[in-house]
């Protein structure tokens, strides 16, 4: 048997791709990016080997579209200095990280996520928005699973500072104009 109908591919993976894109580029741009992802995939589909990992293939295309969208809209965060080192005890860090992860899982904080540097933003989005494993996130971001985990953790740490008010939020976006 050859490739399954593309319709089946959309049924199986459409929701995951939407979650990946909503997490990485936000609701407003996710629909367009979803269309671009599946149109690109449909174009290439007849050449796909039948034993390919279709899910990983689609997530990779979605990731490229997400990066394209973010760059096109100029919302890529300009790298800035590292956030102030956290002075709070480790146990508090863990508590706050748990709070941040809860907030992300229930749909909060994504405005703040959009302000993170690109690698942290995508690592947080893919881990906590799309529930991808660090192996896959590392593959997408072109780094090791450990480096992906560190990026996600660093992103969550910055968000924690915003959430807890334990310090001034790190400046991660340089405003243009005025």
């Amino acid at each position: 048997m050859g490739l399954p109908p593309f319709d089946t591919v959309v049924t199986r993976h459409g929701a995951l791709v939407l979650r990946v894109l909503r997490a990485s580029v936000g609701h407003a741009d996710a629909d367009d990016a979803w269309q671009e992802t599946f149109l690109s995939a449909l174009r290439a589909y007849p050449g796909l080997r039948p034993d390919s990992d279709v899910r990983a293939w689609l997530v990779t295309i979605a990731h490229r579209k997400a990066v394209d969208v973010a760059r096109a809209r100029g919302r890529r965060a300009v790298p800035v200095a590292d956030p102030p080192e956290t002075p709070v005890p480790a146990t508090d860090v863990d508590d706050h990280v748990a709070d941040v992860i809860d907030a992300l899982a229930t749909g909060g904080l994504w405005g703040e996520v959009a302000g993170l540097p690109e690698k942290q933003r995508l690592a947080v989005a893919y881990r906590y928005g799309a529930d991808l494993a660090y192996d896959e996130i590392g593959r997408l971001l072109g780094c090791s699973p450990d480096a992906a985990r560190r990026s996600a953790f660093e992103g969550v740490r910055r968000l924690r500072i915003t959430v807890s008010g334990a310090g001034s939020p790190p400046r991660t976006r340089k405003e243009n104009g005025t």
Partner: protein, 194 residues
């Protein structure tokens, strides 16, 4: 900005509709399909640029049938309700007894050789009439190939549109039907009473 999972289902439905339209504009929609209501349950109707290529009856395994179409014709197969509108309208009229023939076109690519010739003969059978498998075999060029004519009908990719239900046994018995003998009897009854 927030992640709202509750609207994901409805968002996906409209995203898929839009994808089918864009795929068509881009020339990437090789086979379009959609469910079409019938008194027997949902039919899955597949169309190409040439016309109706496959009608999956309620008694069939729909997923397997669509997978077979993808394997035979093209994996660029998407649900695209707007492409199936003409077939949907005509089938609706047929089931209401208001249509006696279809002019949606037939894509014959899923049939070949003797079977294709036999089904071409079946396509010529008039509404409300029946013919025997032997008649169909003769029209296809081999009067002795009654069994092959039966197998052509049993594997008709586009039942109803190509009316293989109008082919019965020479002794007057109904013979088999992919959609089950009850469906065959009801279709013939519909045509007699309309």
């Amino acid at each position: 900005m927030s992640i709202d999972l509750t609207d994901e289902g409805s968002a996906l439905t409209s995203l898929r509709g839009r994808l089918a339209e864009r795929a068509e504009s881009a020339g990437l929609l090789d086979v379009a399909w959609d469910d079409v209501d019938s008194p027997f349950g949902a039919l899955a109707v597949c169309v190409t640029e040439a016309g109706v290529v496959r009608v999956v009856l309620p008694a069939e395994d729909r997923d397997a049938a669509l997978a077979a179409v993808a394997a035979r014709l093209s994996p660029r197969l998407l649900r695209a309700p707007h492409r199936v509108e003409a077939a949907r309208a005509q089938l609706g009229q047929y089931f209401e007894g208001r249509r006696r023939s279809f002019d949606v076109g037939v894509d014959w690519r899923l049939s070949a050789g003797f079977r294709r010739r036999a089904l071409a003969a079946v396509a010529g059978l008039a509404y409300g009439t029946t013919a025997s498998y032997r008649d169909v075999a003769a029209a296809a060029g081999n009067p002795r190939a009654t069994r092959a004519a039966g197998s052509a009908c049993a594997t008709n990719p586009t039942p109803i549109v190509v009316p293989c239900h109008r082919v019965v046994r020479a002794d007057g018995a109904l013979g088999g039907y992919l959609g089950g003998p009850a469906m065959k009897a009801r279709l013939l009854e519909l045509e007699r009473s309309s």
